[in-house]
């Protein structure tokens, strides 16, 4: 087997097909898969862990597991993104268990880059995103995972159930309780977040 081929990736192929190509030595497939999956993996890890450095470590490890699993992947058996979300969540849980409680790195949360908005609006958006992340970090681990997957990643409940290895009813319960808890936390900060009562 020679070195990986490099060049322009093919954006029309499915994740499954790209992984098979990668396993056969096509480096362009690795580039395309990284572009598609790694940002999602990083985003979820950032929301769940609340720390950029840790999220990057988790993302790199999850992608490494993807590369190693590549030759054994059965196309059509499951969605590759679902598998990767599951690996990412498990890595986050393992990390949190080792740490015995995490911490919130608000500077690590990405802020929207919208040049069309005024500086004041961007600051307010940043403040709100920080507040959302801080509120998320107050949720129990499983609630936070379910809320992030449902409301930020916009995954369907059956897919979340598969990722978290729980029933759909448990997903519905976790997201409902998590959302209520978030609303309660954020309700106390309405003034500083710029929400008016009118």
């Amino acid at each position: 087997m020679g070195p990986l081929l490099m060049g322009e990736p093919d954006p029309t192929l499915s994740d499954d097909a790209l992984l098979v190509l990668y396993a056969n030595g096509d480096g362009r497939a690795a580039q395309e898969l990284t572009g598609r999956l790694a940002p999602r993996c990083l985003g979820v890890a950032m929301r769940v862990l609340g720390n950029r450095a840790e999220a990057e470590d988790v993302t790199q490890e999850a992608m490494m597991r993807l590369w190693r699993m590549g030759p054994n992947w059965q196309p059509g058996q499951a969605q590759l993104s679902t598998w990767l979300y599951r690996v990412t969540m498990n890595l986050c849980i393992d990390l949190k268990r080792r740490q015995k409680g995490g911490y919130v790195d608000l500077d690590a949360v990405p802020e929207p880059e919208d040049t069309a908005r005024s500086a004041a609006e961007q600051i307010q958006d940043g403040t709100r995103h920080d507040a959302l992340q801080a509120a998320l970090m107050q949720l129990p681990e499983r609630q936070r995972q379910a809320v992030v997957l449902r409301h930020i990643e916009e995954l369907a409940n059956p897919e979340i159930a598969g990722i978290m290895d729980i029933s759909i009813e448990a997903v519905e319960s976790l997201t409902a309780r998590g959302k209520r808890a978030l609303a309660a936390v954020l309700a106390n900060k309405r003034q500083e977040l710029g929400y008016n009562d009118g």
Binding site: E56, P110, P112
Partner: protein, 127 residues
């Protein structure tokens, strides 16, 4: 109730805003992931031998004998044939010909009696 609805609506707006935030993969992480892809592929290539080695195993005498006669199916057929032979010899079914007639005797039942009578007669002579 209205307060809760308002809080939920604001939370939904926050989620929507978080979803719209661009997802940027830092260059150093992108490079590290692609370097891992090359490493993992190299490891897989090393782990896949070009020709699968043939494993030679030394087999015991009985195992070799079993394989030489054709394995378990042959042994099974042999056992059935033996059982059928014993059955036919001891209690032959009525539709089969009497084997004694095949070798020249008129009736197989007379053979043991004749032999018995002969043995008794000879025994009496000896006494």
């Amino acid at each position: 109730m209205a307060e809760l609805d308002k809080a939920m609506q604001e939370l939904d707006d926050l989620f929507a805003s978080a979803r719209e935030a661009p997802r940027h993969l830092p260059d150093h992480l992108n490079k590290a992931i692609l370097a891992d892809a090359v490493t993992a592929r190299s490891e897989a290539a090393v782990a896949e031998p070009a020709v699968k080695p043939v494993v030679l195993q030394r087999q015991g005498f009985w195992r070799q004998l079993l394989l030489a006669v054709g394995g378990l199916p042959t042994i099974g057929g042999f056992a059935v044939a033996c059982a059928a032979g014993v059955w036919i010899g001891l209690e032959p079914p009525s539709f089969l010909p009497d084997p004694a007639q095949l070798v020249g005797y008129s009736d197989s039942t007379s053979v043991p009696y004749d032999s018995y009578d002969l043995a008794v007669m000879l025994g009496e002579e000896v006494q």
